[in-house]
Amino acid sequence: MRNSERIIRAILIVYLAFIFIFIFTPIVTSIIFSFNSDRFPTLPLGSFTLKWYETIYSDPDVWEAARNSLIVAVSVGILSTIIGFCTAYTDFRYQFRFKNTYLALALLPPTVPLIILALAMLAWFSKIGVSGQLWTIILAHTVLCAPFAMAVIRLRLQQMDADLESAAWNLGASEWAAMKEVVIPFATPSIISALCLTMAVSFDEFAVAWFVSGLNKTIPVIILEILQGNIDPQINAIGTFVFFTSMTLVIIAQLFFSFRSPKTP
């Protein structure tokens, strides 16, 4: 009995390892091939090269796209974290009629397929006459990202003793002062998390950006366009750069999210 349990456990662990290999294979492959000299990426590997990085480095379109992506991601991060914080705090503190409708409105966007949102936003923005601007991507991405920010910050507020805020009021602080001195400092790690996560989501989003951007391409839109052409190892170089950017953001987000003391001292 003990023996068979050990065998089952071993099989499951090996299975788990295979699943993780499957999940990380495309990421690792892309990084390896970004340094590989062959035009068509296959085995055995060619020689080590930096030429794909040089190609993208000297491409003004890529720089332009990187600039666009940066502007969009930072703006979206800030806007959606602010909106997410407001929503999370409302949910944490208040009970009111139609609160479920309110929360549904706040949290539903990620459940709608991006391609549908992309079409809807494209049509809506042309209807109100603002299509093809860089900042329309910011408006659209904020819709998608605010729920993530809300969820992250809400989980942190959950750990806050509800009496902490009332204690501040009893000591004479106004609601605004209590917010500034108690709630925001408590939520700061999750605010940083939310900022990084929403930036990562925005930085990788391609469907909505592709539809509403017009001529202002972001990095994922450039990748999509290269994909539509021939096989081009440039993608691996851009991809590696994109991976490291998003991974850095996600890892920072998780560090702030999980490795802080869960309760107030």
Binding site: P26, P109, P113, V143, E175
Partner: protein, 292 residues
């Protein structure tokens, strides 16, 4: 200095709405109505518009609906998309379950936390680049066929097949499904599991009779998310699946980008939304049904 003892009661329970409360409550309402609900409602309205001389004119006609729903190729795509998304849901749920079970029961809590940490990373990294990687790996002269060639197998055609599409869908959905399954399975009451084992159930029957029923809601939520993501994804069926025939998301892109037929694309979008709502509501209803 004021003493605000009253505020606590009002703030926590009451529905007193003041400037402070509204400051936090209104931003999301304003934003989502303007940039989420607005666009979706406009999409529904747009299905009744007409396109004349490449310009969309506002109207209230059923032409687009009649046109799209009368076409055989639309229904081919519709059932293909539902079929692929359902297959992806079954495959992802089955592939994820042993992994989630192992993470919940067979590893330490610390390992589980790290595993989930690593499962979150791909969710926030470029799906496009990962798809391109698979394209290279699965190609006729790609890495997989290369390795198989060393042992005298292949080459197999994996791109432009349903297999290719599934690999792409799994790349998109599997990490999320594993996370969504692991959390409820890890929360299954250990005493129930021990009780089942004391009563003589082996591992298999413990899973079927105790763990799956206890974690049912979470397992279904994972499946629903998998369905939604695969149903709406255009990247895998296009770049890995070959898009013959196109799935509904690809049809939206083709109709919008090349045909300038936004109203017809909107018809496809609305049908997709309705389908997803039916699937989601039916699943949630099933998840929370009373045990007979």
């Amino acid at each position: 200095m004021k003493i605000n003892t009253q505020k606590k009661a009002v703030g926590r329970i009451g529905s007193k709405v003041d400037g402070y409360a509204l400051t936090w409550r209104l931003p999301v309402i304003f934003w989502q109505l303007l940039f989420f609900v607005g666009p979706l409602l406009f999409t529904i309205a747009m299905t009744f518009f007409l396109v004349k001389n490449y310009r969309m004119t506002e109207a209230f006609e059923m032409k687009n609906w009649v046109k799209m729903m009368g076409k055989g190729y639309f229904w081919d795509s519709y059932f293909l998309t539902i079929g692929l998304a359902s297959l992806a849901t079954v495959v992802a749920s089955c592939l994820a379950f042993p992994a989630a079970y192992a993470l919940a029961f067979k590893v330490s809590e610390n390992t589980r936390r790290w595993a989930i940490f690593f499962l979150i990373i791909p969710f926030f990294t470029s799906y496009l680049v990962r798809t391109f990687s698979w394209y290279v790996i699965l190609a006729e002269s790609g890495v997989v066929n290369n390795v198989l060639g060393w042992v005298g197998l292949g080459p197999y055609t994996m791109l432009n097949t349903k297999f290719g599409t599934m690999v792409g869908y799994m790349t998109l959905t599997l990490p999320l499904v594993i996370i969504l399954q692991t959390l409820p399975i890890a929360n299954v009451d250990r005493r129930l599991v021990e009780a089942a084992q004391n009563l003589g159930a082996n591992g298999f029957w413990t899973i079927v009779k105790v763990i799956i029923p206890s974690a049912r809601v979470g397992l279904i939520i994972g499946a629903v998310f998998c369905f939604i993501l695969s149903f709406g994804d255009f990247v895998s069926p296009y770049y890995l699946g070959g898009s013959k025939p196109p799935t509904l998301p690809i049809m939206i892109i083709d109709t919008t980008k090349s045909g300038q037929q936004w109203p017809r694309a909107a018809v496809v979008a609305v049908i997709m939304m309705v389908t997803l709502m039916v699937v989601a509501f039916a699943s949630i209803k099933y998840a929370y049904r009373k045990k007979s």
